[in-house]
């Protein structure tokens, strides 16, 4: 149990350090036309007030991260038995941390825009020849997902071939030292459980990839044609990274599945490297590509920009403009916009249009599933501890 608590404590520290390192990067990858969720003239991005706000944001993130590290360490030293529970709930503390760093700056940015009477373009763009969304599923890097399914098919064939020679009782659970402590009767369902989980994982990753290519990205009013070219490149690069991550995760489950079929391999360190290394490497590549590309690929320099006639000189207007659709600068709510997924105004993430019924239902169901599974897990863990 001590080792398990130590492992959970290290995981907690790793999560906090990772969040602490990533949160201050967010303003750097956000488009220059946004300041803490408020649309501003890109030329004002480095005005003294904006620079000061970004400094404060970074300071709050770092202080918050240090506080969380202290809290996590205190929990481990004082109540080591609760470390597993802490691992479940600690990631959620990043939400109030980011809110504490972001919201005061969002309020300041709203006031600043009003006081300085900044004028911005509230134009929307579309391209008649291509689209943000049309044909995007065809543009997805299908090869990765099909290769993943092919690997799973091979693993099913291996499992079926091995099934006959499996002993009647097989290990299904292992302790922290990787010594079997749970056993089950041999069955076809048990032998094929991991490949089935693997298929579900590929389906989930495909959904993420599809949502990514279908999401609506922002256009720079000064150079819409460049934005379109950047989006194309961005979608291709990140799409391949997501595909690579899918394959890495397939390998992870594949190796776990093989280890269960040949339990003597469980003690072998090489297999554990094969379990973790591909996924960690693919995630690192995805993060590096996303950070390098900037929000919606705004930092990319495509070799060819389509020779479409540029849009007219953008009309600049004062006032809130389309800021009014962004509650707290974070949550998009525009009943007139048919899009379900839009580009966030802070960071490289995608966000929902909460005015759409399907989004409301999806978010409600996800929250319900999250709260339900957490409640069940918490009750179970408390009874075990």
């Amino acid at each position: 149990m001590k080792e398990l608590n130590l492992f959970c404590f290290i995981c907690n520290i790793a999560v906090i350090v990772l969040c602490g390192a990533l949160l201050p990067i967010i303003p750097k990858i956000t488009r220059k036309s946004y300041l803490f969720g408020v649309k501003i003239p890109p030329s004002e991005q480095n005005c003294p007030e904006a620079v000061q706000m970004k400094r404060r944001y970074t300071a709050v993130c770092l202080i918050g991260t240090a506080f969380l590290l202290g809290l996590c360490t205190a929990q481990y030293l004082l109540y080591p038995g609760a470390t597993l529970l802490t691992m479940m709930y600690f990631p959620f503390l990043v939400i109030p941390l980011q809110a504490a760093a972001f919201l005061p700056n969002w309020r300041k940015a709203v006031r600043l825009k009003e006081e300085k009477r900044w004028k911005v373009s509230n134009a929307s763009f579309a391209e008649t020849g291509s689209s943000y969304t049309r044909g995007t599923l065809k543009e997805m890097p299908w090869g990765w997902y099909l290769a993943g399914l092919a690997v799973i098919l091979v693993s099913v064939a291996v499992a079926l071939a091995r099934y006959q020679s499996l002993p009647d009782i097989i290990p299904i659970h292992f302790d922290i030292h990787m010594v079997a402590d749970g056993w089950g009767e041999k069955s076809l369902g048990l032998a094929l459980a991991i490949p089935l989980v693997n298929v579900g994982m590929v389906a989930l990753m495909w959904l993420c990839g599809a949502a990514f290519v279908k999401a609506k990205l922002q256009i720079d009013p000064l150079n819409p044609a460049l934005s379109f070219a950047q989006h194309k490149l961005y979608r291709r690069r990140v799409g391949h990274c997501l595909g690579g991550l899918t394959i890495a995760m397939v390998i992870t489950f594949l190796v776990i599945g093989l280890m269960l079929l040949w339990p003597e391999t469980i003690g072998n360190a090489l297999f554990w490297v094969l379990v973790f290394a591909p996924t960690i490497a693919a995630t690192a590549v995805l993060v590096a590509v996303t950070l390098g590309a900037g929000q919606g690929g705004c930092k990319l320099k495509p070799k060819t920009v389509p020779q479409t006639a540029s849009a007219a000189e953008p009309t600049l207007t004062e006032g809130r403009g389309d800021d009014k659709f962004w509650a707290l600068g974070m949550f998009y709510y525009n009943p007139d916009n048919p899009a379900h997924l839009v580009e966030d105004r802070f960071g490289g993430n995608l966000g929902f249009n909460y005015a759409r019924l399907r989004v409301k239902i999806g978010v409600a169901l996800s929250l319900l599933a999250l709260v339900g599974s957490y409640a069940w897990l918490t009750v179970w863990l408390i009874s075990v501890i």
Partner: protein
């Protein structure tokens, strides 16, 4: 062709969209027979209501700029040549009236009309050429 609309503009969005498509046809960016995006896709890309795009397409169809094909959707049409509809005449009359109110004389107004005509047709005007 890039379509730009401004949701904060006083001009109704459906008219902005209608005007942009007419400008595209005039300049040759949109060619007769070319299919326009579906109502759903254009609305989604522009972040505006489906009905707004529908209204623009319906107006353009009524004016003869588009043909609504059951299979291909909205397709660019070639309006009857040499004709000028009442709406265009009314708009030009208004532009002339505004020019008069601002003290622009007839020669300057006709020169402006000529420059605008050349710009709309996608050709560089004499003024832009320095001529």
């Amino acid at each position: 062709m890039i379509v730009e609309i401004n949701t904060q503009d006083a001009e109704p969005i459906y008219e902005q969209l209608r005007d942009r498509i007419v400008l595209g046809i005039a300049s040759g960016e949109l060619t007769p027979g070319e299919a326009l995006p579906s109502v759903r896709r254009l609305a989604s890309d522009l972040g505006i209501n489906f009905h707004t795009v529908n209204k623009s397409y319906a107006a353009l169809s009524a004016e003869g700029y588009l043909v609504i094909d059951r299979r291909r959707g909205a397709v660019v049409a070639r309006p009857p040549s040499g004709t000028s509809d009442a709406r265009s005449t009314r708009r030009l009359l208004l532009a002339a009236a505004e020019a008069i109110c601002r003290g622009t004389d007839e020669t300057a107004f006709l020169a402006l009309c000529s420059a605008c005509y050349q710009k709309a047709s996608g050709r560089p005007s004499n003024q832009e050429n320095g001529g």
